[in-house]
Symmetry: C2
Subunit: 312 residues, 2 copies
């Protein structure tokens, strides 16, 4: 008998809850590290709504401390990047026997924090093209999309490692639309072509993706920001097919009306992922001699709103 | 006995109410054209709060139709530019004997509508650098600043006409801080250096001038927009001293906390002056080969918010 692949899922939100449960459902050995939702999930299990077929899942292994987690083959980071300072404490136990880390976060170079702890070679990154929200404790509503692109953190535009391929195969076994990418950096920029306009504008203009796509002016705004991100990516040697601009707008137009994670964070008074999604790309482009005036403008507006909200 | 100069004041808001009452107070023959506030002003008079000295004023001449207005030496347009389509109906009576029109509106080339009716030679423009709000019917609260720069619409960068000088002298007699400008177009661009960032950002970021100046990010946003307006002005042959950027920011920093007219219009579900303050400058710069990406971004955001608010 072959030992089952063991996954440690750090974070039980829209991403970790969904993918972790899909993996557990087909029999992988899945260990969730949860905080506030741990008791609820232990008592009532998970409730997953997804176009793949709704399901409930009881009896999953739930931890409230990383110290009780067993060594895992893959430790999946599904926290917000704003919580990355906790990784120092969370990663040692599940990665103690040499397992890999899969970073499922938005933004640029978000693998860096994990790499500093376990070493770049053991870090994989995944970009989720996914509409999913946590709607209650242990209750995930996956609305649309769902692809994960998995790549190696330490290989830029080279071959895909065996580990990335194997992981991808296992995700596919769980019914997840996973593919490998040979250039994780470029894939991250491609995801930023969505995140920067739609996360940012949804907060500043207080709007869903549907609201933004239904109006010519906000559509033009989104396109204009997207073009700037596309150019910044190219300046950083991440060449993305220009068609991606219209494709991304089309996909968003056809999406269910969706509240971006940043908008939900803002509305729920949680920190927004501004460093990963705005600051790092702006700086990276700057280091390559490319200015992002429009994205910087949006970033500054978000920083202002963030500061206003934190006022006593 | 010399006949008193007669002023027709079209609009009794923050600008027309204040300046009209200051003129009436020192004895000029002032005729107000009002709409919703006419009855209140007839019964209770005006209440003017101003750093120049609060005062009340009863018995001013109030009209509800332009047809009852006598021919005026100066007809002052103190309506919002969004109401300019009414000028066709409002201007003929008070200007019937060859009097001048003074356009006290924000934005670029806002004199054009009046000029089309009475001819360019009879049109003067005034830029008000003024913090004033209408707080109730016939009740104006002038908070800070107050300068008017008066110039000829038909002379670009030439001499000041005798009419502009005489009008300026009369405004000064009423205690108004009025000066002439030999280049009205450049003065309008200079005012736009304030209006574009502070009107626009106050709506999109839901903030007073104080909120915007108290935060480094929104300050940087305002400065960055202001620089773009300054450059656009230069492209349109309106050369403004670069020092105006820091001076304008300084003045705003020292101002009383102020809700811009555009913010008040937005909050009170009135149309915003987007054409005069955003569309015309962007187009004008474009015609001179200068692109305004940041201002256009702000403009699009405002158009989106405007459309969202008009939804059923």
């Amino acid at each position: 008998m072959v030992a089952k692949t063991r996954f440690g899922i750090i974070g039980g939100g829209a991403v970790g809850g969904l993918y972790g449960c899909l993996l557990a459902k087909v029999g992988f050995d899945v260990h969730f590290l949860l905080r506030s939702d741990a008791d609820h999930v232990r008592q009532h299990g998970w409730k997953i709504e997804t176009p793949l077929g709704d399901f409930q899942l009881a009896g999953t292994k739930v931890h409230v401390s990383a110290d009780t987690m067993p060594p895992c083959d893959y430790t999946v980071i599904a926290l917000k990047t704003t919580q990355n300072r906790m990784l120092q404490e969370l990663l040692p136990a599940p990665t103690s026997e040499g397992g890999r880390v899969l970073v499922l976060q938005n933004g640029l170079d978000v693998e860096r924090d994990a790499a500093a702890i376990v070493g770049s070679d053991r870090v994989l990154g995944g970009c989720c093209f996914l509409c999913s929200n946590k709607v209650g404790p242990g209750h995930i509503r996956h609305l649309d999309q769902g692809r994960i692109l998995v790549g190696d953190y330490s290989r830029a535009g080279g071959q895909v490692s065996q580990h990335a391929s194997m992981l991808c195969d296992e995700l596919v076994m769980a019914g997840i639309d996973a593919k490998v990418t040979a250039d994780l950096g470029t894939t991250r920029w491609k995801k930023l072509m969505w995140n920067i306009p739609f996360n940012g504008l949804s907060v500043v203009l207080d709007a869903s993706t549907r609201d933004l796509m239904d109006n010519d002016e906000s559509c033009a705004l989104a396109r204009s920001l997207m073009i700037e991100v596309h150019q910044a990516a190219a300046a950083c040697n991440s060449i993305i097919d220009e068609k991606a601009i219209e494709t991304t707008l089309d996909v968003t137009r056809k999406m269910v009306p969706y509240d971006s994670s940043m908008r939900l964070d803002y509305l729920n008074h949680r920190p927004m992922e501004l460093e990963a999604i705005f600051d790092k790309p702006i700086r990276s482009a700057e280091q390559h001699g490319f200015d992002m005036p429009q994205v910087r403008m949006l970033y500054r507006a978000l920083l202002f709103l963030n500061a206003q909200r934190s006022k006593p």
